[in-house]
Structure formats: structure tokens, C-alpha cells
């Protein structure tokens, strides 16, 4: 069945179904954003626009501290996950037997959050016991290495985000022609120079997308950070404990709205940037030679 025989109505119907599904998936998000701007909250008969609930979020000291911790976690995770994802993608390209790598890196995608968080929690508790034992026996300052806290939460988040970053970078690398590296090497560049000056500029959009993806995943994550964080709070752990213990307040809607709007604007910004860049490249390619 080639394109010529397709009825336009069928295509329109397909688009309609696709949009309906996306809308259904997004309905809780959009509806909660709508509620978050209503002065009277959920279920009210009247709708008066207000940003007061958002202002309340920013006046809450506990939330601001949680926001700070979340940002710190996101930064720490990105710093490790992105180089790791690049290394994995390069390794994937050069390995003859790839299967073990694919399974090892992508398995966490399939591992359900609560199950994996429980095993990692027990793992860290065991490691912590071992390291405290070593510290007691030898006097080395290693006793606190795996105490639940920032480090353990970051490790959990790296395991969680690496598969996503890996796939995003791998897709971009798939479009890179490896002969360019060969050419650079033949011209005398070291492997590192060839990567930094030839390959990296071409895969940069993928690396940026992977970074944005990782930051958003960390911001949205709840189960792993909650299980592994020890003493501090993140934005989502505060939100969840509010919603589970106090019930949905207008402020919960505003917090949810903030998270959704941030994610949506990051995706929109990436899209806009990609389109602008593509348009620029197309213009440059179309420009007459010699310009």
C-alpha cells in the first residue's frame, strides 16, 4: 500500500485518534494546572484567576529548602550521568558483543521504582554496616561512606537516569558518520581531539537533550530519592507527604502545576531551539557557494 492509495480521511482520523490519546494522557496535568490558578480551588462553582497559590509555594521555607536539595541532586546526577552515558554510547559502538551492555544499562528502565528502591536501600544499609565495621576495626575514616544521605540518593538517581541519557545520546550518535573520526585521526588528531573537535559538536544537541531529560527526571523522581535520601527533603517528597497526609490543598495543585509547567517549558524550549537550529542549517546549506 503506497502513499498514493491512502485516503486522506484515514490520515485525518489517525491524527484525531492520536491527539485524543495525547489529550487523555495529559488531562490530569492540564486540569490540575487549570485548578491551580483558581482562587477557589478544586470543585468550586466560580473561577477567579489568581497566582496566589504559587506565591504561597515560594513563601514556604520548607519548600524552598526542599527545592534547593532537589537542584543539588539534579546537578550531582547530571555531572555523572552524562559522561557515563557518552562513555556507554561509545562503548556500545565499538563492542562486537553488545548484548550484555544493552541488558546491563537498559534493565533499570524495566525495574519498577519501589522494588529497585527497596533493594538499593537494603544494599546501602548492608554496605553501611560493613564500612562502619571497617572503620571501627582499622580507624580509617570510611564509616560514613554509605550512610543514607546525599551520596546514596545520587547513586540511586544515576542508576535511574543513565538508561534514558544513554538512549538519547545513542540516537544522536547514530546519525554521526564515523568516517569523520577516521579522517581526523588520519590528519594526526588524537582520539580525544577527534572526539572533542569533530564528533562532539555534531552530537551536542543530543547531549543537551539528555542533560535536560536527566534534570527533569530527577526533579520528578520520588520513590528512589524518598527511600535513599536520609534526612533531607526534596520537592516531590514534600508534595507527596502533603497530599497523602493532609490531603490535596490548593498549594498542592500549585506545586504540581509548577512541576508540570517547568517540564513543559523545557521540552518546548528544546523543540524551539532544535527548529531554529535546523532552519539556520538549512539556510546555510541553501546559500550560494562562496558566501
Amino acid at each position: 500500500m503506497s502513499e498514493d492509495y491512502v485516503s486522506p480521511w484515514e490520515t485525518r482520523l489517525g491524527w484525531l485518534a492520536l491527539s485524543a490519546v495525547v489529550l487523555a494522557i495529559m488531562s490530569p496535568v492540564l486540569y490540575s494546572i487549570y485548578i491551580s490558578f483558581n482562587e477557589h480551588g478544586f470543585g468550586a462553582a466560580r473561577y477567579d484567576f489568581t497566582t496566589a497559590w504559587y506565591a504561597a509555594v515560594f513563601e514556604d521555607a520548607q519548600l524552598l529548602s526542599a527545592l534547593g536539595w532537589t537542584v543539588a541532586l539534579a546537578l550531582a546526577t547530571v555531572v555523572v550521568t552524562i559522561p557515563f552515558a557518552l562513555l556507554c554510547a561509545k562503548l556500545f559502538k565499538r563492542l562486537r558483543r553488545k548484548l550484555w551492555l544493552v541488558f546491563l544499562i537498559l534493565m533499570p528502565l524495566f525495574a519498577p521504582a519501589d522494588i529497585f528502591a527497596s533493594s538499593l536501600l537494603v544494599f546501602f544499609k548492608t554496605l553501611n554496616g560493613t564500612f562502619e565495621g571497617i572503620a571501627d576495626a582499622t580507624g580509617l575514616p570510611v564509616g560514613h561512606f554509605f550512610q543514607l544521605g546525599f551520596v546514596t540518593a545520587t547513586i540511586g538517581l544515576i542508576v535511574y537516569t543513565l538508561p534514558y541519557a544513554f538512549v538519547v545520546i545513542l540516537i544522536t550518535m547514530g546519525r554521526y558518520n564515523a568516517e569523520q573520526t577516521e579522517a581526523a585521526r588520519a590528519c594526526g588528531a588524537t582520539a580525544w581531539q577527534a572526539f572533542l573537535q569533530v564528533e562532539f559538536p555534531q552530537i551536542r544537541p543530543g547531549v543537551l537533550a539528555a542533560t535536560a531529560f536527566t534534570v527533569i527526571l530527577v526533579f520528578n523522581e520520588y520513590v528512589r530519592s524518598n527511600a535513599l535520601k536520609g534526612g533531607f527533603d526534596t520537592f516531590t517528597t514534600v508534595l507527596i507527604s502533603q497530599m497523602l497526609n493532609i490531603g490535596m490543598s490548593e498549594q498542592s495543585y500549585a506545586m504540581g502545576g509548577m512541576m508540570s509547567l517547568t517540564a513543559i517549558s523545557v521540552v518546548a524550549a528544546i523543540l524551539a531551539w532544535t527548529f531554529a537550529r535546523r532552519a539556520q542549517l538549512t539556510r546555510r546549506a541553501a546559500a550560494p557557494a562562496g558566501n
Partner: protein, 307 residues
């Protein structure tokens, strides 16, 4: 791009031949760096996941557990109401898998076949968008959507479709299935989309030339080619339906418990061996399903396009 412009500056000098040993050491260290991420994943993902099997046989103490070999945790799981709950959550997850396939896979096929190649990835971004919004928000905010005076009920009542609010869509098993479908549907679309890469355009032209009926094309061409992707999507939805505690916890009402919720509740109750037994069962189920899928369809072929 490729032929374009200024590349490098002057050609760098060749490595100093006086220090070949040092250079070799450096090269070896650089080669080893590539194995750092897999080593990290082996230590912090594989090891904890596999250790759950060992810990599940340990004995519970007051606040922790101690090495032993006892089947108590498994008895505690299989011979109590937990097992029944687990079985019914398998049922709900399976229904979610089927619904996701029926809705999501045709979308993947549609995007691959009817949308110009250059726009396909942009359309997929529409499905990445909900995925980028926190699952917590998407799940929790289903309450105001599905609730008694929520969006669905008030809209349907205003339209005159129903006269009384539908109460069976929240805090019921149906609520859990709805939550799972809305949470995991994008995964079926992605996996189907990736898998459809294996079905090139000319295959369909051949089908059209020999006048194959539509359902035969679907059954005998599309489905077998896309099977690895569909399987991967199905495993993801099934296992996460069993393992993500948030969905039954917020949408399921009293009886709704899945493996993830059993494990987290066991940890809150400081029954670590029970939590580990549940984790071990889930981990082994996941490994078993992926191994089965790999035997049947070579799951690595999903990543074929990137080789």
C-alpha cells in the same frame, strides 16, 4: 557540514617515542574508563537486585535481619492474603497491557506509515511530553479528574450523558487500570515505533502489489516484524503495573495492593526479609520475561537502528 571549512590547526606532534610505556599506560587507562559505567551499574544495580534473593532467606530481627536460611518470608508472602492481592494485580496489569497495545500500537504504526519521515520524531515528542511531567502529578491529579465531582463526571453530566456521577472509576480496580494505561501507554508507542523501523516501506509496497488484505498485512507482516518492540513494551507495562506502588496507593482504594506496595509496606514495618522476598520474586520475574523475550525475538534488535 562534512567538507566544510577550517578543521584543525597545525598537525599535532607525534607522541614522544621516548615514553612508550607511559603512553601505553595512558591508553590502557582510557580504554578502562569505558568500562566504568558498566562497572557502576553492576555494583549499584545488578548486585543489589540479585542480592535480594540471598536476603530473602535471612531471618528477621527487631530492626534489621541476620544471615540464615529460612523460607519464612516466602511463606509469609504465598500463604497470606498478599498472594491473592498479588495475583489480582497481575490481572489488572495484564488488562492494562492489552489496552495499551490496542491503543498504542496502531498509533506507532500510523506514525511510521502515514507521517513523513522528517516529522515522525516530532510527533513522538508529543508522547515524550507527558512522560516528562512527573508521574506523581499525572497519577495524583487523576483524582480530581476521575472523582465524584471531577472533570469526567461533571462533563458527562453537563452533556446529559449520565444523570448521576460514575463512582466506579476511582478507588476501584478500574481506577488502577486507568492509571496504569495513562501512565505507561507512551512506552508501548515508543517501543512500537522503534520496532517498526524493522518494517521498511518497500515491504508494504510489495503487500499492496500482491493485493494482500489489510488484516493479513497486520497479522503476517507488521506484527511479526514489530514483535520484539511490542514484547518489550508489554514487559515494561506488566512489571511496572506490579511494581509501582503509587498507582494502587492513590487510585486503587482499600483492596488494591501490588508487589511494590507490599514491599514498601514491609519496609515501613521493618520486615526487610519480606520486602526482599517480594523484590526477589519481581526481579526474577523480570529477568525471566526478558530472557524469554530474547530467546523468542532477540530483544537487542530493537536497538539495531543505532548500530
Amino acid at each position: 557540514m562534512r567538507g566544510g571549512g577550517a578543521g584543525f590547526g597545525p598537525v599535532p606532534p607525534l607522541p614522544d617515542p621516548a615514553s612508550p610505556a607511559l603512553a601505553r599506560l595512558g591508553a590502557r587507562a582510557a580504554a578502562a574508563a569505558f568500562y566504568l559505567p558498566p562497572a557502576f551499574m553492576a555494583l549499584f544495580f545488578l548486585a543489589p537486585s540479585l542480592m535480594t534473593v540471598v536476603w530473602s532467606f535471612w531471618e528477621r530481627t527487631m530492626f534489621w535481619m541476620e544471615p540464615a536460611f529460612t523460607l519464612f518470608s516466602y511463606e509469609n508472602f504465598f500463604l497470606s492474603a498478599r498472594f491473592g492481592n498479588f495475583l489480582s494485580s497481575i490481572g489488572h496489569s495484564s488488562i492494562a497491557v492489552v489496552i495499551c497495545f490496542v491503543i498504542g500500537f496502531p498509533i506507532a504504526v500510523f506514525v511510521r506509515r502515514r507521517i513523513p519521515e522528517i516529522a515522525q520524531h516530532r510527533v513522538m515528542l508529543l508522547f515524550i511530553l507527558p512522560f516528562m511531567v512527573s508521574e506523581i502529578v499525572r497519577t495524583f491529579m487523576l483524582r480530581p479528574v476521575l472523582g465524584r465531582n471531577g472533570l469526567v463526571n461533571s462533563t458527562l453530566m453537563e452533556l446529559g450523558v449520565i444523570s448521576e456521577p460514575i463512582t466506579s472509576i476511582l478507588f476501584t480496580p478500574t481506577g488502577v487500570v486507568i492509571g496504569e494505561v495513562l501512565s505507561f501507554l507512551p512506552f508501548m508507542v515508543f517501543c512500537g515505533f522503534l520496532a517498526m523501523e524493522a518494517a521498511p516501506r518497500h515491504v508494504f509496497e510489495v503487500c499492496a502489489d500482491i493485493g494482500a488484505p489489510r488484516w493479513r498485512v497486520f497479522k503476517d507482516v507488521i506484527l511479526p516484524l514489530a514483535a520484539p518492540g511490542v514484547f518489550a513494551g508489554a514487559v515494561f507495562i506488566l512489571v511496572n503495573g506490579l511494581g509501582v506502588a503509587l498507582i494502587p496507593n492513590t487510585l486503587g482504594g482499600p483492596g488494591a495492593v501490588n508487589a511494590g506496595l507490599i514491599a514498601t509496606q514491609a519496609i515501613i514495618a521493618l520486615d526487610f526479609p519480606l520486602a526482599m522476598a517480594v523484590s526477589a520474586i519481581m526481579t526474577l520475574t523480570l529477568i525471566g520475561l526478558l530472557a524469554l523475550g530474547h530467546r523468542l525475538f532477540d530483544l537487542a534488535s530493537i536497538l539495531e537502528p543505532f548500530k
